[in-house]
């Protein structure tokens, strides 16, 4: 019985693919998610499938990064900034047919902030004192203190609203959301299929079916695009192949920004990096443009602090750490290392780290700093570098939006411990006036740059490739997502 059913659905699927190319899309992605519950895992691959497509939160990110209304139609903020009253949309149904009500919101937020919560971004919910349902479509959230970023926090994929009463273990393989697409099936190791939600509360999706195919190998990804097996690769893994796509009239190359600040992280508590002069020397020893050219083939924007250039509050501080090997050597001598020193450079798997690492090792060698390079998998990197503080230098891209708050945590792996910065962050959290917030964020950038906490390399570019007839893909990546709700074929 099960077999027959399966066979029929597969048949139907292939038939629909053959009949109408214009309503189906094959999306390529590099990493397959471990499961499909964004409230219980940090894998960006989860959000790439479910964010905006399957699951929605109270608010959401738009394509240009603004926080807009999601399942909450509107909201009121009390005078003191401590009480948020969300007015939910009515008539929203989960894919299994049940209604989305205020109690689902209460359940989801309480679950995320509970003691035994396994939410990867538990910090987003830390300021919540209480969540209550005033009636079926009204939720009142009380905060412990003012939080100018609360609506922003609620837009994250980790803050989506689950259906109360669903078995959360089952959701990992069978998500049940409110979004414009429903989950069809998951061929593990190969692909995930979605179908249009015909009962969607908002503007329905244009595509009828979606296949997200997982191709981890960049060469295979290139071949699959070239052969037309994949229609769009929103984040193409090999920037070196983009010129070839650009030259091919069948494709468009979509270059946008991401929230990924790529940094050469420095162990601030480990000698000699506890010496500010040494860190300053590092920042002058690195030639960002060579790294962007060599490792990313030109895709990427230089940054001078841990802050995204497309953000309105951004100030360009790259001049403070301009490439000047002479100065770097002088600073090292002043710090007491005229002959340099030897340290470790531990690299996680992404190309920016591995290729960038080779270039950085060569640049550091030129000013007398020898590095022992070790390539690590993410698992070992998390254990050794992130939790074990066992590293001198490492390269990593911090892809969460507006994540400069981590610099206020002295336990965070690069261990920047500045009372001044921590006070600044507290002030920022409590501030709700937009202009004041911008001013404070600019102070933060200046402080990060002046203290040379890390060497800020470049903002990771979103390098997408798509069939030229596909319209509506996100150009930028304000959060990890492949929002397909507005995507269609122009021919």
């Amino acid at each position: 019985m099960k077999r027959i059913f399966l066979g029929a659905s597969v048949l139907a699927l292939t038939a629909s693919m053959a009949m109408a190319q214009s309503t189906h899309i094959n999306i390529g992605d590099q990493l397959e998610p471990p499961h499909l519950d964004p409230t219980a895992g940090a894998a960006g691959a989860i959000d790439n499938v479910v964010y905006a497509n399957i699951y929605e939160g109270l608010t959401r990110f738009s394509a240009d990064g603004d926080v807009i209304a999601g399942l909450a139609e509107s909201w009121d903020i009390s005078e003191d900034g401590l009480t948020y009253t969300f007015n939910l949309r009515s008539g929203v149904k989960y894919h299994d047919g049940s209604d989305m009500t205020a109690s689902d919101v209460v359940y989801s937020l309480n679950r995320a902030r509970a003691e035994d919560s396994t939410n990867a971004q538990k910090g987003l919910f830390a300021g919540i004192a209480d969540v209550t349902a005033a009636d079926d479509t009204t939720v009142v959230v009380t905060l412990t203190s003012e939080n100018g970023g609360f609506l922003f926090n609620m837009a994250w994929g980790d803050a989506i609203i689950l259906n109360e009463g669903d078995d959360v273990e089952a959701l990992k393989s069978q998500p049940n959301g409110t979004g414009a697409f429903t989950f069809t099936n998951w061929v593990q190791g190969d692909s995930i299929n979605l179908a249009r939600n015909e009962n969607y509360w908002g503007t329905p999706a244009i595509l009828e079916t979606v296949t997200i195919k997982y191709i981890s190998d960049p060469t295979a990804a290139f071949a699959a695009m070239m052969a037309g097996d994949i229609d769009a690769f929103p984040t193409f893994p090999a920037p070196e192949n983009l010129p070839q796509f650009d030259a091919d009239p069948r494709f468009t190359v979509i270059i946008g920004s991401t929230e990924g600040e790529t940094i050469l992280a420095t162990n601030n508590k480990m000698p000699p990096f506890d010496n500010p002069l040494v860190r300053k020397a590092l920042s002058h020893a690195i030639d960002r443009s060579a790294i962007i050219d060599g490792a990313m083939f030109g895709y990427g924007t230089p940054i001078g602090s841990h802050f995204a250039p497309h953000n309105p509050a951004y100030i360009d501080l790259t001049g403070e750490s301009n490439y000047d090997p002479e100065l770097a050597r002088a600073l090292l001598a002043e710090a007491g290392y005229p002959d340099g020193f030897t340290t470790t450079l531990k690299l996680p798997p992404p190309t920016y780290a591995r290729r960038g690492g080779e270039i950085i090792a060569a640049q550091l060698r030129a000013v007398g700093i020898e590095t022992e390079v070790t390539n690590l998998e993410w698992g070992s990197w998390l254990e050794e570098v992130f939790r074990g503080y066992d590293f001198g230098l490492t390269i990593v891209s911090h892809t969460e939006p507006m994540d400069f708050g981590v610099y206020a945590d002295p336990e965070y792996y690069f261990q920047y411990d500045s009372a001044e910065y921590q006070a600044l962050m507290e002030e920022l959290t409590a501030e709700t006036d937009p202009d004041r917030r911008i001013a404070l964020m600019q102070d933060a950038q200046r402080m990060m740059a002046a203290d040379d906490v890390n060497v800020y390399l470049f903002q990771l570019a979103k390098t997408g490739v798509a069939n030229k007839n596909i319209v509506g893909l996100w150009e930028n990546s304000p959060t990890q997502a492949t929002d397909l709700t507005a995507v269609y074929w122009s021919e």
Partner: protein
């Protein structure tokens, strides 16, 4: 003997091929056309020309120089791995043969079977997952799998020698098992060991390339053929020379060693079966 070897065309070709790379590796200690640890991004993807004989890679490094130093890495890893295999495998095999049928023999042989049962590449991956990737760990991973090869080979060969007259007379003369193994058995299986050593050496080079290819061998900035191939993979469609030269280097070295090994085998024992397992 040496003269006889060079009369065999297979041996001569193999010898020339293998020696070319050994020589390149040795010379690289003193001289390479360009330094391999300096990155020159604006000079990337040069095609072979008079300055860079085999062109430059994606970071502007000279491919010819990289291949020379890469030969050093490959050969060093393979030689040490074979050394580990011989150093531990041969004594184990001889001991098992000397005490045929004993518990020691049983334990050694079943231990060999056990190691053989593990898929080699997989174990190498696991070893590097535990200890982190490095040339040393690649050597250990490859070396472990050489131990049972030499243990089995020397046990088998030694067993047949133990029944021979000269061993019997040595026993009558009161020599112990250790002395007999060292003085009478070992010299007589040396030829076999050399042949097998050549073959394991070539397999070691392939294994090192495979490990480096998946990022588990020697770490940058030490060049390695396998990693050069891995780096070139996405660029092969517009810069094929990045993928062709390191691959050719591997093929020619392995080919040379195999030709030498086969020729030596024929030379030492014309009756021995051709064709390798």
């Amino acid at each position: 003997m040496i003269k006889a070897a060079f009369k065999m065309p297979g041996f001569t070709i193999g010898f020339i091929l293998a020696m070319t790379f050994v020589l390149a590796a040795l010379v690289s200690f003193f001289w390479t056309p360009f330094p391999t640890d300096i990155v020159d991004v604006p000079n990337k993807f040069q095609l072979p020309n008079r300055v860079n004989w085999l062109g430059t890679d994606h970071l502007g490094r000279d491919i010819f120089s990289m291949l020379m130093v890469g030969a050093r890495t490959s050969i060093a890893v393979a030689v040490v791995a074979v050394g580990i295999g011989m150093g531990l495998g041969v004594p184990l095999g001889l001991a098992a043969a000397a005490r045929k049928g004993s518990l020691l023999d049983e334990v050694i042989m079943r231990g060999n079977d056990l190691v053989f049962a593990f898929p080699a590449l997989l174990i190498a991956i696991l070893i590097t997952a535990v200890f982190g990737p490095s040339a040393v760990n690649a050597i250990i991973a490859i070396g472990i799998f050489n131990i049972p090869v030499f243990a089995r080979l020397s046990r088998g060969a030694a067993l047949s020698l133990w029944t021979r007259d000269f061993v019997l007379s040595a026993r009558v003369a009161g020599k112990g098992a250790v002395r007999i193994s060292a003085e009478h058995i070992l010299p007589n299986i040396l030829n076999l060991l050399i042949v097998q050593g050549t073959i394991q050496f070539s397999l070691g080079i392939l294994a090192e390339a495979a490990l480096s290819y998946i990022g588990l061998g020697a770490q940058p900035p030490i060049p390695s053929w396998g990693r050069m191939l891995a780096d070139s993979q996405t660029m092969a469609s517009f810069a094929p020379h990045l993928a062709l030269f390191p691959g050719a280097a591997i093929v020619l070295t392995v080919l040379g060693l195999n030709l030498m090994g086969d020729a030596l085998r024929d030379l030492f024992d014309p009756k021995i079966r051709r064709g390798r397992e």
